[in-house]
Symmetry: C2
Subunit: 351 residues, 2 copies
């Protein structure tokens, strides 16, 4: 039995007077307080949250990373996860990509009137589970409710905060020609997991979202390689292609990647084929790109393969002086083509 299912079983839904969300739950008055007292505060309890003030108060010292994301994914439950754990992992990972060690989260809900309380509770337990797994805590929050038809069940904002790793110096300006580009695992799983549900393919494939917290893997790499890691970026919306383009644009440098080295699960590859998606543009939720000094690339790769979420890691390309601002892919048959940013919207509401 997975840890998540164990936690779901050990956190049964408390007895509430209501089984759907009503506008009153966003009133700030009695019903809002009842909702929180019915179990939300108990479930997520920690020293800072229990202050129950308008915000949390705690100590921080030194350089910190601060990142925010709103999550509007549809459907809210999908193969491999749900909007709750996605909201925790997404922000945890953004803090980690800055070289931060995520510690505190804020959590804000926009609920649609009529949402089932049971689903809301399931998402809350999932948030708790993801927080424990990532070693972070929700210290402050907010709940708003909008009328039926003015939202879509649940939108979640998380904002994260953590100290910067003492050995980290993550900055696109550190990226140099010669640097190697490493990815920690198979691409395109998250987007295709969502797409398979939307297109009704879920019973024919076992594709699951790769949503996970990457902070411990990032920390282990920083512990070992410090400033020789020049950049981390997570290829979420827009996929690997967009993130690499952002690096090429922001650093005004070229990026070369080899199609043959892009790690891609065969089921995901097949789903991309069937549905007409280029996996380079498909969203990921458990991946990061590391741009590292050439000399350490092989060692980073070897280390990464021993770490959580790193088994399928690969060196996928390098930073070059040519074609500044552009990403060039060498295909499996040796042809070269420029890979642009994602144009238009491939998969709306993927996170």
């Amino acid at each position: 039995m997975s840890d998540k299912i164990k936690m779901q079983l050990s956190c049964p839904m408390p007895k509430m007077d209501f089984d759907i969300v009503t506008l009153g739950h966003g009133s700030g008055g009695l019903l809002s307080n009842k909702l929180l007292d019915s179990g939300v505060f108990d479930l997520l309890s920690n020293e800072e949250l229990d202050q129950r003030h308008d915000g949390a108060i705690f100590n921080l010292d030194g350089k910190v990373a601060f990142s925010t994301d709103s999550f509007v994914i549809s459907p809210i439950f999908f193969p491999g996860g749900d909007i709750g754990e996605l909201a925790v992992n997404g922000t945890v990972n953004d803090v980690a990509m800055c070289g931060g060690i995520p510690k505190y989260l804020s959590l804000s809900f926009i609920l649609e009137e009529g949402m089932k309380m049971e689903e809301f509770w399931k998402i809350l337990v999932s948030i708790k589970w993801a927080c424990e797994k990532a070693g972070v805590k929700v210290v402050t929050g907010d709940t708003k409710v909008v009328e039926k038809g003015k939202g879509d069940k649940i939108f979640i904002n998380t904002t994260g905060l953590g100290k910067i790793h003492p050995q980290a110096d993550i900055n696109v300006t550190n990226v140099e020609a010669g640097d190697k580009i490493i990815i920690n695992g198979n691409i395109a799983a998250h987007g295709m997991a969502i797409m398979s549900v939307r297109e009704g393919l879920e019973f024919e494939t076992t594709i699951e979202s790769d949503t996970c917290n990457l902070n411990f893997t990032i920390k282990a790499l920083l512990d070992k390689f410090g400033k020789d890691i020049h950049l981390f970026k997570d290829p979420t919306r827009g996929g690997v292609a967009t993130v690499l383009n952002e690096i090429a644009r922001d650093r005004q440098i070229g990026v070369d990647i080899l199609q043959k080295d892009l790690p891609l699960d065969s089921q995901v590859a097949a789903a991309c084929e069937i549905l007409g998606f280029d996996p380079l543009y498909v969203a990921n939720e458990g991946l990061f790109i590391a741009v590292v000094k050439n000399e350490i690339a092989d060692e980073v790769l070897a280390t990464l393969k021993t770490l959580e979420n790193g088994a399928d890691a690969a060196i996928i390309g390098e930073v070059v002086e040519d074609h500044s601002g552009e990403v060039v892919l060498t295909s499996t048959i040796g042809g070269k083509r420029v890979v642009n940013m994602l144009v238009g919207e491939q998969l709306p509401r993927i996170c």
Copy 2:
């Protein structure tokens, strides 16, 4: 000409390729980047935001306050403000209520497909204006887009961060019987301003929202009175009645208030009468309740009257040992009644 209008004139909408928000603007790809590059980054520019990383990196030292709020107000433009400045002020004030000096904000949008870019720009300029006025900066952000009919124009989350004032010790456990309860101004303006628009009364009254940043007023009080101020709370959703009930409940103590001392503008009072609202439950966006040591109450009041947003301040009641957990109001004609928390939802989507 108001400072806000001056800023609107000095920040004309940049030339964009699009005049409405499309799903592609939330793709994370080219259109998302275009939207940001079309002027958003330039408009809100500062050292941290310009890093354009997944999060912002900055230094912090010591005790901090951290607070989040999502804003779903409808309509998004209302007499006295709009959702943009409300989102800045709301979070700035929540940080201030903790005794914090707000400095950094994250800013996250959930836009509905089809929203007019012109309205979005107007809100962005308003955010910039409110940030400058409050002395805070937006250092990181996010934009998501949902399909038409799955949102309502724009929802905004802001999360704020600031150091705790060195003389502050704001905590409900500090509240003691004998403490005086002070409010900084007239109650119920925000809620009635919104209600007057919704009910089509806006041309007959000049009621405006009281949305404003309270951080400088709070700081001035902490500078002068330090730990003798036991608690700050802002009576937003749920109004003054709900906030006082939270104090009575959390501290397990009684609260007495005098109806005759509640500052209330006559137009707002009339609107409340007509529409059948009790002003004690109507939302405020520019008010705070200070619970202070009895001995300094008159001096706090005198000081407050000299400060921004304090001209109409009043002592409205006191903390008592009797009727623990309850708020009791003495009416203008001398009768006493228990004032409960807001039950149900009085004004949905008031903030």
